[in-house]
């Protein structure tokens, strides 16, 4: 119990320091950008805006003040939980992010579970029968997927299933003309199908290769050889001995890959015009929406950090050896 409190305390302190560092660095980056937020926001309509109107907008957003002063205001609000107002959505940044995050959450959660389960199964199979035809097939698939861009997989799936076969919709997270709460769960799932498959197909690669390595290691270990000497079959060794030793690193890896999952979601959402947090990131970057962009940077950092911490925590919780090491060092 005491260890858990200590663990949480340490992690929270680290997170606070990390957030502070990321906030300072990303603020320095965006305030050095030659892109003028007012110009980027107005786009082609900038020609219709008089210099006075421009000044009013600049004043309202506070972009006419020097960077240090802006940073202090922004950081002061940030500490109070206020991320500012998004320029392109004209809503508080936190509202935009939370709404978008829920939409993205289902996409990421489904893809994360599928790729984890499938990748683990494929890795086990490939590792257990190392060098067999099925191992070679799985390996070729995983290595090819590791060098394939996510968005291209999305484009090909979109082309085959939405354009040629018309089985799946071509865009969005719910039927056009409806709002999020009007759509039924089946309509939502129907729209989720292709993005989830895209992310899963790519996400499988890493976990498969990793699990395969670990399985081969386990199959050559003393306990596996001993079990074989006692007459255990390959499947038996895999299910009774290897799985337990391979599962932990796989779970850890899956939790530690939330950053890549987020990146994949950005690309997949762009292909399928899925209105999630990833698409908001692209819109914020192209539209010059500084408060939203900074907000997303911070929130996604917390997201990745949480994943890594959960991975650490599971390690300590499940593996008694780790707990002992942690206990003796304290």
């Amino acid at each position: 119990m005491f260890t858990i409190i200590k663990f949480l305390f340490l992690k929270t302190t680290r997170l606070a320091l990390l957030i502070a560092a990321v906030a300072v660095l990303s603020f320095v980056l965006v305030s050095n950008s030659p892109i003028d937020p007012v110009d980027a926001y107005a786009g082609a309509a900038i020609l219709n805006i008089s210099p006075e109107q421009r000044d009013i907008i600049a004043q309202r957003w506070g972009v006419d003040k020097p960077p240090i002063e802006r940073f202090l205001t922004w950081a002061g609000q940030l500490v109070q939980g206020d991320f500012g107002v998004s320029a392109i959505f004209n809503e508080p940044v936190l509202d935009v992010i939370s709404k978008r995050f829920i939409t993205s959450f289902w996409l990421m959660a489904l893809a994360w579970s599928f790729s984890g389960a499938l990748g683990f199964g494929l890795g086990l199979t490939a590792g257990a029968w190392e060098g067999s035809l099925i191992d070679r097939g799985i390996r070729i698939y995983a290595y090819t997927m590791a060098s394939t861009p996510t968005f291209w997989v999305g484009i090909v799936l979109l082309m085959v299933f939405s354009v040629f076969l018309s089985w799946t919709p071509t865009c969005c997270a719910w039927p056009i003309g409806m709002s999020a709460d009007q759509a039924t769960i089946w309509q939502r799932l129907h729209h989720l199908l292709l993005p989830v498959i895209t992310l899963s197909l790519i996400g499988i690669a890493k976990i498969t290769l990793h699990t395969r390595e670990k399985t081969i290691e386990a199959m050559h270990s003393d306990y596996a050889i001993f079990a074989r000497a006692q007459g255990e079959s390959t499947i038996g060794i895999v299910l009774r001995q290897a799985v337990r030793n391979v599962a932990l690193p796989a779970v850890t890896l899956q939790f530690a890959s939330l950053g890549e999952l987020f990146g994949g979601a950005v690309l997949a959402e762009q292909v399928f015009a899925y209105p999630g947090l990833g698409r908001a990131t692209v819109e914020a970057g192209i539209g010059g929406d500084v408060p939203l962009l900074l907000g997303i940077v911070l929130i996604s950092t917390v997201f990745v950090f949480t994943g890594n911490s959960v991975a650490d925590f599971i390690y300590q919780l499940v593996d008694p050896r780790m707990r002992k090491v942690a206990g003796s060092s304290s």
Partner: protein
């Protein structure tokens, strides 16, 4: 696993086969660059009489909505994307070398700063970091290169730093210090020869990542305009014609990109096998 292009049935030993694989990979890139150069302006020429032709023997990649030959455009896009990826990977690798050396050699404070920078660099999702930096640089091709170059060093820095830290406690380095050699002499004569192969392999293995990330960034609309047809731009444009059934606009450039990335990966792995003393004599 090191992919080797040549099977065991050839009369060569593994070392020769690895060398031949490396040669084949380099030839592949030479062909891309030379043919992109030979095509000259042909990729940009619009020919409205030849619009939207599906792939055929004369035009293996088909033509687009303005009658431009897609093979020429793909080659040019590939050349552009590969150049961006190469430049960015080289920059990233140099940053990693400098930071890794500094962290391991210049004392505890510098080490703390560098490891902390590595942690911060890896804390933000990579694509979000890329978008942030490319925004900070004002977009454009320059923005893409800087973003990709400035975000790929953390993992290699870790590798190089760990390598040097391990070397520093080696007996012969300690002895060298006992003999009164200064840190710069040791760095140049003892450490660099060890680290350079790591650095070369690390740089080669960065290429696939930088190329894919540069393509991803341009696909999202950061940086390159339609006038600079990087492979990401070609794929982003193809999305607009998908509903009209022009499938070849997306398929061919995509496969060309995957093959290039895969060839780079193979190049890096074969180099590693050759440079690593444990595997070079097999």
């Amino acid at each position: 696993m090191t992919t080797n292009l040549f099977s065991r049935s050839t009369p060569w030993d593994l070392r020769t086969r690895t060398l031949m694989t490396i040669l084949a990979c380099i030839t592949f890139f030479a062909v891309i660059f030379i043919s992109a150069w030979l095509y000259g302006e042909q990729g940009q020429v619009t020919n409205l009489g030849l619009r939207k032709l599906p792939p055929s023997w004369e035009r293996p990649f088909g033509t687009d909505w303005l009658g431009r030959d897609m093979l020429a455009r793909t080659l040019k896009g590939l050349r552009l994307s590969l150049s961006v990826g190469l430049t960015a990977a080289a920059c990233s690798a140099f940053i990693a070398l400098l930071f890794g050396l500094a962290a391991a050699m210049l004392g505890r404070t510098v080490d703390l700063i560098v490891t902390w920078l590595v942690d911060v660099g890896m804390a933000v999702p990579h694509l979000v970091l890329l978008i942030l930096i490319s925004f900070a640089c004002g977009g454009g091709a320059k923005g893409v290169i800087i973003a990709v170059a400035a975000s790929h060093w953390p993992s290699l820095t870790r590798v190089i730093r760990a390598e040097i830290l391990q070397l520093r406690s080696a007996d012969y380095i300690k002895l060298s210090r006992q003999f009164g050699k200064g840190p710069y002499w040791i760095a140049r004569r003892h450490l660099l020869p060890h680290v350079i192969p790591q650095f070369v392999v690390g740089m080669l293995l960065l290429f696939p990542h930088t190329i894919l990330h540069a393509a991803g960034l341009t696909f999202l609309g950061f940086g390159m305009s339609p006038h600079t047809p990087a492979i990401g731009v070609l794929l982003a444009e193809s999305m607009r014609y998908l509903s009209m059934g022009l499938w070849w606009l997306a398929v061919a450039p995509g496969i060309a990109l995957i093959v290039s990335v895969k060839v780079f990966d193979m190049l890096g792995n074969n180099f590693r096998a050759l440079l690593d003393p444990r595997t070079s004599q097999e």
